[in-house]
């Protein structure tokens, strides 16, 4: 909609004031995190608000000097990559079946998948823990990758099948006439046609796994296996008196996600709200 002149100057100022105020609120904690990370301890204590009186990279050096921090960062990368790829492969197959095949029980399966999207993970945690204990998979990254991938599946299948369904059947028919088999159809026609959907889904899923805390705290208790998010809480208590170092750690932990956000902002935002808008 075009800006409406009838709101008038007063309405316009009210809107700008509200938005500016909320922007300040949204940015202030982030500003605080960033400027603090570049201050030394004394600077922080005497000057909490302002810019650093002298920019220091010492805090980052301290963080990088922590052996554990690297381990945790690596663990998060492994878990995120593993579970996102696994979920994607499984979801592609399932979404193809849902979008382009008819089979008995299809409606049921779809309804169950949609209902599961809202079941909170905390409900599954205890039996999963029992199961993993039996399988000897506590403190196992493979086990957690499996759990994460499983948790990602309902949303992934739902989103991908929506995108697949939008691929015109004529395209598929044309390929069939050329003698294209069902599986080859999937990776020759469907997957390339829905490429943007994959990017979106990969980003959305990665953010979720990277930021997840409950499951990682419960299933990866070994210090060397902790994820970054679980490790940060340890890190924080260790440097509880050195706030600038903690802040530097937080910035490094946010960086991968922030880069994803600014690199693929449109896809990112669309992905997070996809399904929700039409739904």
């Amino acid at each position: 909609m075009q800006r409406d002149n009838r709101i008038g100057w007063a309405g316009f100022s009210v809107q700008q004031t509200v938005l500016l105020f909320l922007t300040l609120l949204a940015l202030f904690p982030i500003y605080f995190m960033v400027v603090t990370a570049f201050k030394n301890q004394n600077d922080y204590i005497s000057n909490k608000f302002g810019l650093p009186s002298a920019v220091t990279f010492e805090n980052f050096r301290t963080v990088f000097g922590q052996h554990n921090f690297f381990l945790w960062f690596g663990n998060s990368v492994i878990l995120t990559a593993g579970s996102v790829v696994l979920a994607m492969v499984l979801a592609v197959l399932a979404a193809y079946a849902v979008a382009k095949f008819w089979f008995p029980g299809k409606k049921w399966i779809l309804n169950i998948v949609i209902a599961l999207m809202v079941v909170p993970p905390v409900v599954m945690v205890i039996p999963l823990f029992g199961m993993m204990t039996k399988l000897g998979m506590i403190n196992s990254q493979g086990g957690v990758i499996l759990i994460y991938a499983g948790l990602l599946l309902p949303l992934s299948i739902y989103m991908l099948s929506g995108f697949f369904a939008a691929i015109p059947n004529e395209m598929i028919e044309a390929a069939m006439i050329d003698g294209c088999g069902l599986l080859r159809m999937l990776y020759r026609i469907i997957v390339p046609a829905a490429l943007p959907a994959f990017v979106t889904l990969a980003i959305v899923n990665s953010v979720w796994v990277w930021n997840e805390l409950l499951i990682s705290v419960i299933f990866l208790q070994d210090d060397a296996l902790k994820t970054l998010m679980a490790g940060l809480t340890v890190f924080k208590s260790k440097y509880t008196l050195n706030i600038p170092v903690t802040m530097a750690g937080l910035i490094i932990s946010t960086l991968p996600i922030a880069i994803l956000y600014f690199a693929g902002q449109r896809t990112f935002v669309e992905g997070l709200t996809a399904g929700a808008v039409k739904g």
């Binding site: 909490k48 608000f49 095949f101 008995p104 909170p120 905390v122 409900v123 903690t246 956000y261 929700a276």
Partner: protein, 292 residues
């Protein structure tokens, strides 16, 4: 598209790995959880105890406090709906700088919960930046122990949840509003509708389904998606003043090894969540009928 019997078999084969994973991660645990909630669980041995876990649960002050705290957090829902809708309407009018506002206001949402929690932990410290600001402004009386005082700690937590989760709502509503046909507004303008009337009679009805969806997921978040905030910022304290159901489950199961009772809480949460989802789906079906 493919609808023969041979194709149906093929479809099941394609679905099998996902269904297996879903069975393993969702369905089996949910069923098992219900079973546990009626049992005393000692290592590998489970013994049926009827409703005992539930009875004990609702007699336990620790649990009722936690559940009540979840209920208090629900107050955030109307606040979030009001503010996100209002902001989305402003941005939808393509106010100058709307794209920048959208980017910036969404940013808190991508921060991880533990990260937001730690940063706000420092902001809310007794000698933290917020109180320093208040003291500089001469508002010494307002410089409270935000996370350390049992009376206000929960509300401080709630403010962080709102701060972080709001961006999603704004972007969600905005993307729905961008699909509203322009003609509807033009017609309303021709009828001489005021700004408020236009949004009340055009925007709100148009985004109604999104509103119901957002309401549902926000309610579910407040009931069962706030573990990270509590765990990182207060650990449930001081006392039990900021404990929530999820933390109760975590502590009961993994600290006190009382699996039966923890499972009963999970079932309670599951039932409440499903009730809200069911209501939302019903509303949507009614909307669908009305539209036809």
């Amino acid at each position: 598209m493919y609808a023969t019997r041979k194709h149906a078999v093929y479809a099941y084969l394609l679905l099998a790995p996902s269904l297996l994973a879903i069975l393993f991660v969702y369905l089996y645990p949910v069923v098992k959880n219900v079973q546990y909630s009626f049992s005393a669980v000692l290592g590998p041995v489970t013994k049926y105890v009827g409703w005992r876990n539930y009875r004990l649960l609702f007699k336990s002050d620790t649990f009722t406090t936690a559940l009540l705290n979840n209920a208090k957090l629900l107050l955030a829902v109307p606040i979030m709906i009001f503010v996100t809708l209002l902001v989305a309407v402003f941005l939808h009018e393509k106010i100058r700088g709307w794209k920048i506002y959208r980017t910036v206001l969404f940013f808190p949402y991508i921060l991880a919960v533990p990260i937001a929690g730690i940063v706000f932990g420092y902001i809310y410290q007794l000698n933290g930046i917020l109180n320093e600001l208040l003291r500089t402004l001469g508002l010494n009386a307002l410089a409270l122990d935000w996370l350390g005082s049992p009376k206000i700690a929960l509300w401080s937590l709630m403010s962080v949840i709102i701060w972080k989760e709001m961006g999603f709502g704004i972007v969600l509503f905005l993307s729905r509003m961008l699909t509203i046909p322009h003609e509807l507004y033009e017609a309303a303008m021709l009828d001489g509708a005021s700004w408020r009337q236009r949004h009340w009679h055009v925007t709100i009805p148009e985004v109604r389904q999104t509103l119901e969806f957002y309401f549902t997921i926000t309610v579910i978040t407040m009931l069962s998606g706030v573990f990270g905030y509590v765990y990182v910022m207060t650990g449930g304290g001081p006392g039990n003043s900021t404990s929530v159901s999820e933390l109760f489950i975590y502590q009961t199961a993994f600290k006190f090894q009382n699996i039966g009772m923890a499972s009963a809480v999970s079932v309670v949460l599951l039932v409440i969540s499903l009730v809200f989802v069911f209501l939302q789906l019903r509303l949507r079906r009614e909307d669908g009928d009305a539209a036809r």
